[in-house]
């Protein structure tokens, strides 16, 4: 397959790894932002092939992992209501709320539909005028354009039975939170290639400057990852701080300006609670007031949510790169993909799920 095979070529990867071994002179700690990158690293066994000086810690870029528990409980409460068709990305179905998950609500007769795109949810709303169709609009900058587009489309179609439960979050505020923490260990970042494909990377140089942390825009195939690591380490070894692009086949500095315009039309910056991490100011997007008619939170007015997080789960520290899943005392014991205590154990982008699935200890 073109644009995939060449970036999974064992020989090319090994060659670049040799370059990296020659380059590195001392220990460096890098964070890959995106959970998709974490999974790719472990899926290909890349972590074992890196020079021992380079440690990768795993970032917060797992959309369902950072979606606040309160919002998940709200989603679960809405999904349980009769007359509601609750649409979600598949990854959310197994994520534990305080008391249950979407899978168990579906088993009890709730109408839960897995959709591949929010525009499918709009179609479901058109086809079911007697039902309230709610889409759980979670995700980072990657999902925001399509989620926003679904609202525009529903408005254009005059749909009165479509709404979105929004939990959009953004990468740059999370980087500030991680780098500003006194416990921070991160010396360089691999930024999330898919996020940058939408947003570009013009937001990152001021962060790199402020904290003196070099970065590379990084993709998801093994060769992309090695290249991103190489470009970051090269800067660290030379004492330089910049944001370089190791994913130029998908990312430009400006990003997808049409997508950004749609996001800005529908959403505005808001404070968000990040599960396990806490409130980060202006770290997400919420619906602008012109679109509040499509806000599921307002439409259903669920109240009285009492959240309950497992006291054993250290997901917050894992998501900030302070601890690794294998540092968790209940990893693989009380907490497994069948009996998850936190979202990172079930999401296809969760670091704990990756460690479990690929046998990492």
């Amino acid at each position: 397959m073109r644009f995939v095979d060449e970036f999974r070529d064992g020989e090319l990867v090994q060659k670049r790894l040799t370059d990296l071994r020659h380059l590195v002179t001392r220990p460096w700690t890098l964070m890959e932002i995106c959970g998709g990158q974490t999974h790719a690293i472990l899926q290909y066994g890349l972590d074992e092939l890196l020079p021992p000086e380079i440690e990768l810690v795993h970032g917060p870029g797992c959309p369902v992992c950072v979606t606040s528990l309160e919002l998940i409980d709200k989603g679960l409460a809405i999904a349980s209501q009769p007359g509601v068709i609750f649409c979600s990305f598949g990854d959310m179905l197994r994520v534990p709320g305080s008391h249950n998950d979407l899978f168990s609500i579906r088993a009890q007769g709730g109408q839960i539909r897995v959709v591949y795109s929010p525009l499918d949810a709009v179609k479901i709303a058109q086809e079911n005028p007697d039902k309230q169709v709610v889409f759980f609009a979670i995700g980072f900058e990657t999902t925001a354009p399509a989620n926003a587009m679904s609202v525009l489309q529903a408005k254009g179609l005059g749909l009165k039975n479509y709404s979105v439960l929004v939990s959009q979050v953004c990468v740059p505020p999370a980087m500030h939170a991680i780098l500003g923490s006194p416990e921070n260990r991160v010396q360089g970042f691999l930024t999330a290639g898919h996020v940058c494909a939408v947003m570009g990377y013009w937001e990152y140089p001021p962060i790199a400057e402020k904290y003196r942390v070099p970065m590379a825009v990084t993709g998801f195939e093994p060769l992309d990852l090695v290249e991103g690591i190489f470009m970051t380490v090269q800067q660290l070894e030379a004492g330089k701080v910049d944001v370089l692009n190791a994913y130029s086949r998908a990312v430009t500095r400006e990003g997808n300006t049409a997508a950004q315009a749609i996001i800005n039309r529908v959403f505005e910056p808001v404070d968000r609670n990040w599960r396990g991490i806490g409130r980060i100011p202006l770290s997400g997007w919420g619906l602008r007031s012109e679109y509040s008619a499509f806000d599921a939170d307002k439409r259903f007015g669920v109240s009285g949510i009492q959240t309950r997080e497992s006291p054993l789960c250290i997901a917050g520290q894992v998501l900030q790169g302070l601890k690794k899943p294998s540092d968790c005392p209940v990893f693989g014991l009380q907490c497994t993909p069948r009996t998850p205590l936190g979202a990172p154990m079930v999401s296809s982008e969760g670091a704990c799920a990756a460690y479990y699935r690929y046998g990492k200890k």
Binding site: Q14, G36, G45, F89, D91, V114, G359
Partner: protein, 344 residues
């Protein structure tokens, strides 16, 4: 004039009375006409191969078949129902001989559709060399079933001296597979038309008993035969590793995945190693017989793409390990539950 209900299934077709008889005569008898069925009894009295009177044992297996849509590129529920049971029986090293077929029909099912399914069953049964010797039909009200469910059970005879099963894998054995993985799962998924894209992928659903017979002839010390159906190659290898208390190493580069299947998996965030197959068999044999088994498979119509994909070691027992495309190693675990599409 009374309605004849010739074009679709109605509750009366399951009454056991005249309408049931008519359905049997119009739809089932023209296709299924084995001596066992033609006896017209509530049972079939069957003969065994001559050798079976002196040695070997009988193998029996049963399977329920539910698939949506009923017809998909490369197959249909009928072909699936026959192949599924033929293959399950054959995986013990047995020669499948006889099948039974039970049908649950939903009210409103077009009879012409049932006819096509029954015809497909007979065609593939002939190809596999098995006879369908007994059957039953029940009709349920609209909404109580999804069009058509089929149960098949099969009996086969295993010649003496064949000791084949998941527990028999031994350190030093070689792991072979009869072809590419993931075709069936992706063919059915795209046939549902919910993905917003189409593929040219054909299901691999096929009877494997002739291929298996050829493998055992070429490699008489075959240890394991198993078809990687639900859960795919990864899940099936994990079952074998657990049963035999061995470690199985797989070389990712050697596993064949057809380009359209790979493309679909890339888009959906699926790993083809976990996608279902209905016409593939994993063969584990002593290293000395591996080449002979491969050559035998490749000479068969359903084994042209057969390859060696790994080997068996003693430790870590119960684990499957993958040598990745870039030369890394990692665990190849079973899935926790349903495979779900990713977000971004």
């Amino acid at each position: 004039m009374p309605l004849r209900h010739d074009d679709q299934i109605v509750i009366g077709h399951g009454s056991g009375g005249r309408m049931t008889q008519e359905l049997i005569q119009r739809v089932f008898m023209p296709h299924f006409s084995s001596p066992g069925l033609l006896q017209g009894n509530d049972f079939a009295a069957l003969g065994l191969p001559l050798e079976a009177q002196f040695q070997g044992q009988l193998s029996i297996s049963t399977d329920m078949h539910i698939v949506s849509p009923l017809f998909f590129p490369g197959g249909d529920i009928g072909r699936l129902a026959v192949c599924g049971t033929v293959n399950d029986v054959a995986m013990s090293g047995a020669r499948p001989l006889y099948l039974t077929a039970g049908f649950i029909l939903e009210e409103g099912l077009p009879i012409q559709l049932l006819d096509r399914v029954v015809m497909s069953m007979q065609q593939v049964a002939e190809e596999a060399g098995v006879q369908i010797v007994a059957g039953d039909t029940k009709v349920v009200e609209k909404g109580k079933a999804d069009q058509l469910f089929i149960n098949t059970a099969g009996i086969g005879w295993t010649p003496a001296g064949r000791n084949i099963g998941g527990a028999q894998a031994r350190p030093g054995d070689v792991v072979l597979i009869s072809g590419a993985v993931g075709d069936h799962g992706i063919a059915v998924l795209t046939a549902r038309g919910e993905l917003g894209f189409e593929t040219d992928v054909q299901s691999d659903v096929a009877p494997l008993n002739h291929l298996i017979e050829a493998v055992i002839e070429a490699a008489p010390h075959t240890h394991v035969l198993r078809d990687p159906t639900r859960g795919g190659l990864a899940t099936t290898l994990n079952e074998i590793a657990l049963q035999s208390r061995t470690a199985i190493w797989v070389d990712e580069k050697s596993v064949i995945v057809h380009p359209s299947v790979r493309a679909a998996c890339e888009m959906l965030g699926f790993d083809p190693l976990y996608v279902a197959n209905e016409g593939k068999v994993i063969v584990i044999v002593p290293a000395a017989e591996a080449d002979a088994a491969l050559t035998a498979m490749r000479a068969q119509p359903y084994g042209a793409e057969a390859v060696a994909i790994g080997y068996v070691e003693a430790a870590p027992a119960g684990r499957v390990l993958l040598r990745t495309l870039i030369g890394g190693t990692r665990l190849l675990d079973v899935l926790a539950g349903e495979m779900l599409p990713r977000i971004c």
